[in-house]
Structures are given as structure tokens and as C-alpha cells.
Symmetry: C2
Subunit: 334 residues, 2 copies
């Protein structure tokens, strides 16, 4: 194995000089830098990660804990992971993969053994055993999502309130005057003070602002519930011309149900969904949608961590703006 002293000898300098050329932590004459770089190339030198971590107290590794539980949409997780790895590499860091299964112990382990300098935790629950740990751990961390008590933690997420508002805005601008929200299952609203509520709030506020008649309907995540919901909505609001859906499994069945009930989409009824792009794009009728911006979330999580590692303070909450992709399911009211 080629080591720093080999490079130093080859270049006719001290090992510390090689180290400084690599780190840029002190000024080196152009001449020496050149020679050292050439020696590094010539010998194919790569610093030993462990030795580096030991001496510098930095592993240059981020730990990323991903959920594997059902209900999480897998492509979104992968997209997020890929974005994290790519962003980390751009900052000379590597990524250690942990599964949610490992829980708080896993985080404690990689932090305690100095395997990782910082932690990214996806799929944060409102009451999460990892939260208290992350507080006491003296390693920077970023959470994807917001727990019940986010104070002092750095959290990143889609701005769900803005997403709810944006869905209404899109429909209002198409001329719709009556829009209902088909939401998540009832227990999601009861149990969590989380994103489902925020979508509903943004939806309701924006509807009020646009003078659009609106209502929110929690809905179980089954095709049968979707069918029943479609019938109920038509019975309740004959004047309904647009629907926002925030409930992934229900998107396709709901559209199918409306069609079976004799409504044409988008001619008679426009549909906007909050769901992963894969679901919206691959539906029989491509659905206008607002997606979780997994790429941006991953990249942002990493840049936040990098700031924290440098000691630069960052804001606790980062809410990414929603983006709406117009597909075939929404059209002007007529």
C-alpha cells in the first residue's frame, strides 16, 4: 500500500507537506504543490480512510437511515437515497446505509463508533424513539419530515400547506368554482398533527381566498372506499367540477369510479393528486399532480448537514416549494 511517507519521499518533501497539499489547510508554493501532485499521481496514492478518521476526528461519512416499511413508496425512497449519495460525493463524503429496523440503536452505534460524522433520518414519525437520541447525540443530523416537537432539530420537507394551496390555485385558474379534497384515512388526521392536516389547511385557505366552494373528505385507502367516495361526492355536490386527491392508493380507483359513474375526466371533472410522479404518470389516464421532490430533499438535506459540520448555523425548518406537473386529468371548466 502506498502511504503518505512514500509520496513525501518521492516528491522530496515532508509527509506533512503532502497532507497540506491534500487538505489545502496551509499555503504551499506552486512548485511544491506541483511536485507533490505528480508524485501522488505517479504512485497512485490514496489516503487511508481509517487513519484519516483517527487523526482528524472526521470520517467523511454520512449515515442515511431509510424506511423499508410497507406504505412508503419505494421509488421515492430510492430517489432520495440517490440524491443524498450524489450530493454527499460532491462534498467529498460517503454514505453509510442503515435500515429503519436498526432504530435508535443503529444511530447510536454509528455515531458512537465515529463511523459517521452526521446523520440523515428519513420517514420521521410524530413520536419517534430516535428523536430524543438525536437531540442528545453530539452529531449533526437532518430529519426528513417533522416530528411532534421539532424544536432544535433540523427538519426538511415538502411544504404541504403550499401544496394544498397550489392544487386549488391550479383548479381555480382553470375556472373551477367547486373543489373537494379527498384526503388521507381519518386516523391519519386524528393521530398525526402532520402533513395531512397541513395539506387540508392550505387547501381550505386557498379555496377561501379564491372564493371556491370546498370541502375535505377523509377517505380509507381502498378501492371500495374510493368508489363509495365518488358516489357520495356526486350526490352531495352535483355542481362539483374538480377534485384534489391526497391519498396514493385511491387515485386510480377514484378516477375509474368517476368514469364508471358517467363523468368524463377531465371534460366533466378535473383531478389533481398529491402523490409520487410514478403513480401519477403511470395511471391509465396520466394525472396532474404535485410530487414529493425527493431529489431536492436529498440534496438539501446534505447541504444542510455540510453547513452544520462546518459549524455554520442553519434554520430549523426547511420547506421546499411544491411543483405541479400538468398532465391529462385537469382542464378548464366548461
Amino acid at each position: 500500500m502506498v502511504k503518505i511517507s512514500d509520496v513525501a519521499r518521492h516528491a522530496g518533501v515532508a509527509p506533512s507537506t503532502v497532507s497540506y497539499v491534500l487538505s489545502g489547510k496551509r499555503t504551499i508554493s506552486e512548485d511544491t504543490r506541483q511536485r507533490v501532485q505528480e508524485s501522488i499521481e505517479a504512485l497512485g496514492y490514496r489516503p487511508h480512510a481509517g487513519a484519516r478518521a483517527l487523526a482528524s476526528n472526521r470520517s467523511n461519512v454520512l449515515a442515511l437511515m431509510l424506511p423499508l416499511r410497507p406504505g412508503i413508496h419505494v421509488p421515492v425512497v430510492m430517489q432520495f437515497a440517490a440524491a443524498v449519495v450524489t450530493a454527499a460525493r460532491a462534498h467529498e463524503h460517503d454514505v453509510l446505509l442503515l435500515t429503519q429496523e436498526e432504530g435508535a440503536d443503529g444511530l447510536r452505534r454509528v455515531a458512537g463508533s465515529a463511523l459517521a460524522d452526521a446523520l440523515i433520518v428519513m420517514d420521521v414519525q410524530l413520536r419517534d424513539e430516535r428523536i430524543p437520541l438525536l437531540r442528545e447525540l453530539n452529531r449533526p443530523s437532518v430529519l426528513l419530515g417533522f416530528p411532534a416537537e421539532p424544536d432544535g432539530l433540523t427538519c426538511v420537507d415538502l411544504d404541504f400547506r403550499a401544496a394544498g394551496a397550489l392544487s386549488v390555485r391550479h383548479l381555480a385558474e382553470l375556472g373551477h368554482r367547486c373543489v373537494d379534497l379527498v384526503g388521507s384515512p381519518p386516523e391519519v388526521y386524528e393521530r398525526e398533527t402532520g402533513f395531512a392536516q397541513r395539506v387540508a389547511e392550505g387547501f381550505a385557505e386557498s379555496a377561501a381566498a379564491y372564493g371556491v366552494a370546498s370541502a375535505v373528505h377523509p377517505c380509507e385507502a381502498t378501492p371500495e372506499a374510493a368508489r363509495a367516495m365518488a358516489e357520495r361526492l356526486l350526490a352531495l355536490h352535483p355542481e362539483l367540477t374538480a377534485v384534489v386527491v391526497h391519498n396514493e392508493p385511491v387515485v386510480a380507483p377514484l378516477v375509474a369510479a368517476f368514469r364508471e359513474l358517467g363523468l368524463r375526466v377531465p371534460e366533466d371533472l378535473s383531478v389533481v393528486a398529491l402523490c409520487p410522479d410514478e403513480i401519477a404518470a403511470q395511471a391509465p389516464l396520466p394525472i396532474t399532480s404535485i410530487a414529493i421532490p425527493a431529489d431536492e430533499l436529498g440534496a438539501r438535506a446534505v447541504t444542510l448537514l455540510m453547513s452544520k459540520l462546518k459549524g455554520v448555523p442553519v434554520s430549523d425548518a426547511t420547506l421546499l416549494p411544491p411543483r405541479l406537473t400538468i398532465r391529462a386529468s385537469s382542464a378548464p371548466r366548461h
Copy 2:
């Protein structure tokens, strides 16, 4: 930070004794072991990963390179990754995540810097820039899939030939006497001497063995091609009662096409697919299928690496047996 000397002092032993208690590399009296363990607990000691890697020349980290390119079915990748992490943890190892994008350089980097002890590479292409590197690198590796020249490399994959055979066997046992294979796009057969051929071979051999009439039809991966294929098959073989599909995007469209042509599935025509379980299970009509056993592949890849790390030789090729899941698309011929 608690270090090994703190534990040693607390337990009244030498640091090396603590090390040996942890590694089990020499016999320790039950009494000492007990005291040391208690001190470890009491102080919350965790060995410094970098120091360990430096002194022992082992990082206890596996690098896992995953594909993100389109065409790869994402849930399968995630499932594989999860299995690798879980298996690695069972062997006291962690997993470093690399993206295919990093290519050979990424592997060289993590191997050269001693970040990882061993490498797992998924989605191996027939002509892959990483293959020559893996040969010359003095780190054990396992490939998922088979390159053109697999000699000397440790490869793991589904036994595609057996999968082809199994699909026929299932249908033959249901009484079908005429079975066609709708395969991958033509260029896959031309370009690759890989899994597509092996499926076709296993299919053809098994058909011959069961005395079943059969034919192989490459098929483009589009709904239109699926529709055309359905028409063509019916025209060619009016007596056809079963079809095997090895072409993910075509599974659902093909079934739909047969139905539109007046055939009932499975009453008039049985269908078996080689595709990820998600696709088979979530089709409008759940499809009897043989899946890529991502869990087993991941676990096996890790155990193979562990053997290699211990210096135990392993066989070059590991072919996992196919498993067929019976769903609603296959039934006895009548």
C-alpha cells in the same frame, strides 16, 4: 469519548485484554471477561471504527454499488439493498452505498482508501468497465448477474434456465399441451448471451421433455407490440392455451390484449410471467409468476463475501432456484 484504556482501567486489566474480550481472539477467564463486559456497559464504550480499521486493516464495511438507471425495477433494487444491509449487520458489518454513476472509479476509491473491505456490484453488464478492475483489485467482491467472462469472479443470480423450465412445468402439469414464450426485445437476445437466452433454453428444453408444443417470440417492450403479439399468436396457434411472458412492461398489456380478443384468462388461456412480484401481484388480474428473489440474492451475496473475507474459497457461480407463485392467471386446461 470513552476509549479502550478507560475501560481497561475501570476493569483493572490491560487494554489488550479488553480488545481480546471484544474480539474473542484469545481465551479469557470467565471472571475477567465478566468484569470487562460490565465496565464496557458501565462506561458505554464503543470502539473507534477508524482506529480499529487502522490497526486491524479491516474496516468491517462492505461497499454496495446500486443501479439507478431506468429499466431497472426499483422495488427489486431496494429489496436487494435491504437484504444486503440486514445480512451484513448480522455479520457485524456496515454497508457503504455507491451509485452506478461512480463506476469503476468509485470502486477503486473505496477499495484504495480502505473504506471498504469488500464489494458487491449489482446490475453487471456483459461488457462492464468494472469487471477488469474487480479482477485486479485485491478485495473480495461479488457480482449480481453474470458478465461475458465470469471466470475467476464470484457471481450470484437467479437460475434463469431453471426459471424457464419451471414455468413450462407448471403449465404442463395443468394439462397444457401448447405453450409459447413471449420474450424480451430481439436486441436483448442478439446483444446479450445472458439471462434472456437462458430462460428461452430452459423453456424449450422443458417443453421438449414434457412433450409440449412450444415456440419463442421476442417482443418489443411496448403495449402496441404486446397487442400485435397477441393477435399473431392466436393466428399462428389456434390451439394455444398457455403463454409464458419474460418481458415486464408487456405483461399487463398482453393480458389485456388477449381479453379484448375474446379470450378469458385463465379459463381459455393461462399466463405465467417472469417479473418482479410487485408487477405480477398488482396487475388488474394477479399473474402467476416467478420473481427475482432479491432477498435471497442479497443475503447470499453477503455470506459469500464473508467467506471470502475469511479466506474460505467459494464457488464462482451461485444460481438460486426459481420459485413460482401461483396467482389468478393460470388454471388447468379444459
